[in-house]
Amino acid sequence: MIDLIAFIPRAIGQSVPLLYGCTGEIITEKSGNLNLGIPGVMYVGAISGVIGAFAYEQATKGGNFIPALGIAIPLLCSLVGSLLMGLLYCFLTVTLRANQNVTGLAMTTFGVGFGNFFGGSLIKLSGSDVPTISLSKTSNCFSASLPFADNLGWFGKIFLSYGFLAYIAFILAIYAGFALKKTRIGLHLRAVGENPGTADAAGIDVSRYKYFATCIGCMVAGLGGLYYVMDYASGIWSNDAFGDRGWLAIALVIFCIWKPGIGILASILFGGLYIIYLYIPAGIDHMELKELYKMIPYVVTMIVLVITSMRNKRDNQPPASLGIPYFREER
């Protein structure tokens, strides 16, 4: 039997990076940009935060570590890192109208390489004498939960045991859902993704919306990387540990039919699937079965993709111009 009280908090912890990635990609895709570079962006978001935190921890070795700065510096570095990635993607696909798929893949190659390079070489590059990158002080700030959470039994464990970035993820997803549906900017963004020609004729600056949505989407996704390394992985960077979460996040977008609200539920579900292999007993003799259980989230994603494509209600379709560059004077 699965120990739910132990399982649920871990599943939710796993879901947070997915949710960040998913929310970010929804915002991006709503503008008509299919950003396959999200996995790379999340790596860059994570490593930028790590670089910031590492620098700050090294600088304050003798003590004098201010928690507020310990949070602000990595957070800012992470946001700037993923913003730059977003700008790069937009410059290539929006300004230069490059193929979105290829640009995205190149961004992923670049981003993952960037993350692993600095993750593996940071110590050497900075000339410091620590054995591994372990940012325990920063991590403590990021994963601090409410002081009374431990006293509330299962309720505290399931609902209150996370660092602040987890709550921000949920708030962001809910706000993104609201903004897309109920605000002027959301309306305009949806129009840009559906039919940029129409949006343009209506006086909406298509390129600006694409730039903004994609950059904000990247910054949100980058936070997912930051959360993973600072909170979930307790501040320890190891290469490739973030794995394929970025890709799963992109798949989640289709699963939740471009609605961030559904994205919350979907990411918790996938967070659970991602670690369920730890909770399915395989016996000590059959460790290989664990590897098969790890397949579950991908198989479920496939099934979901197929089912989503089978039902084709007009409202549940991807933004109509997704993946297509916009050129006003196209004839």
Partner: protein, 396 residues
């Protein structure tokens, strides 16, 4: 009322086909610019001088006979995968599952080596390995294709998920067959008997290279001169036209993906049977993704793909040398690859469009154009004429 007082600073005009020579030049400029940026980054991170970087890159790729052969062998594998993906891309089917198709093909070959390696004679074994590898690769390609053909399921994500499913299946068998128990890896298969090891032509690198050349020519002919190739282009260009021409798009998609996956499986077969003689979850090593970019950079032209894959392998082997020399992480190569690709992707813009800047009123009436930046060669007379006309008008 927010009316702009000045004319827009520049506007973008689609150009008709650029002469081939000029296209090559634009790309060459882009590559040079990319190399400059890469060197600057390398200088910053490694504090090496530019000359040392240059020699290290050459050293890494062509430093010794062995290194040179390895460079060509790596190029061949990348080329085979890129060629495998090409018919799918021409069909606008975004197969980014090359990674998984290679891996599962490799698994098929490895499984034959392990399970029946000592039961059948070597030629038969190799034949069975080939069939298993190509068959499994084809299956891995066909599954997303069937979903696409029947329900129009998003193939990008489907092929991607198939990658991870393949990785987990390989991980499963790795533990099942691990040697020695508890090591978590299979190790060199049939090290003593060499059963299932592909024969060496000249040296152990040449076979792969020869097969790559064969496939390049084959794919060129397939795409250009066969009925299948024609059907692939029509389906890729317009679903409606395909229907009009009596082409069954679904069948073409499935057939093409079987070919695409099968060739990836062949690459897996070569990796296991001829190069590594073992299987790990990282057998494909990201080549499945790099190949997507190679194929696209070469505009789906098999011959141009030779150059594109050589460039990328050359640079990443060179980058590996630099990171080794400086004790840095291997991923340095990925960063370099990424930058090169960004530049080449970006330069396509200047091939397809022209930027026309407008001279401000009162300014010197000599508009700077995209043409001027990229050398208004004598080949593009219409463009030149247009500029002249514009100059004239501004003089009025």
């Amino acid at each position: 009322m927010k009316t702009r007082k000045s004319e827009p600073l520049f506007h973008i005009v689609k150009r008709k086909d650029m002469p081939f020579g000029k296209q090559v030049m634009v790309r060459a400029i882009a590559i040079v610019a990319a190399l400059i940026v890469c060197s600057v980054i390398t200088i910053i991170t490694t504090k090496m001088n530019p000359l040392a970087i240059f020699s290290a890159v050459i050293q890494g790729a062509f430093g010794s006979t062995r290194k040179m052969w390895i460079t060509f062998q790596d190029t061949s594998i990348l080329l085979i995968i890129a060629l495998a993906l090409t018919p799918a891309f021409k069909m606008k089917f975004w197969n980014i599952g090359g990674e998984g198709q290679v891996l599962i093909g490799g698994l098929g070959a490895a499984a034959c080596m392990i399970l029946i390696g000592d039961k059948v004679p070597d030629p038969v074994l190799i034949l069975i390995m080939l069939v298993a590898a190509v068959g499994l690769g084809a299956l891995w390609g066909a599954i997303p294709a069937i979903f696409k053909a029947v329900w129009n399921t998003n193939e990008t994500l489907c092929t991607l998920m198939m990658n991870y499913i393949a990785i987990q299946i390989v991980a499963f068998f790795t533990i099942l067959w691990e040697v020695p128990k508890g090591s978590g890896k299979i190790g060199i298969i049939n090290q003593n008997t060499n059963a299932g090891w592909l024969l060496q032509v000249g040296n152990k690198y040449l076979l792969t290279i020869l097969i790559a050349i064969l496939i390049t020519v084959g794919m060129f002919v397939y795409l250009k001169y066969t009925k299948h190739g024609y059907e692939v282009s029509v389906v890729g260009e317009s679903e409606m036209t395909a229907r009009y021409a009596g082409i069954h798009s679904g069948a073409v998609i499935i057939r093409t993906m079987i070919i695409s996956g099968g060739l990836c499986g062949l690459a897996g077969f070569l990796l296991v049977g001829s190069i590594h003689h073992t299987i790990t979850t990282t057998l494909a090593g990201g080549e499945g993704f790099t190949a997507v970019m190679v194929s696209w950079l070469a505009h789906f032209n098999p011959i141009a793909m030779i150059g594109a894959s050589l460039l990328i392998v050359f640079l990443s082997n060179g980058a590996a040398q630099i990171s080794q020399n400086c004790g840095l992480n291997q991923s340095f190569g990925d960063i370099i690859t990424g930058i090169i690709i960004f530049f080449i992707i970006g330069c396509e813009f200047f091939i397809r469009y022209r930027v026309v800047f407008r001279a401000k009123k009162g300014a010197i009436p000599a508009p700077v154009t995209g043409e001027a930046v990229f050398g208004g060669g004598p080949g593009d007379e219409s463009a030149v004429k247009e500029i002249k006309e514009e100059e004239g008008n501004d003089n009025d």
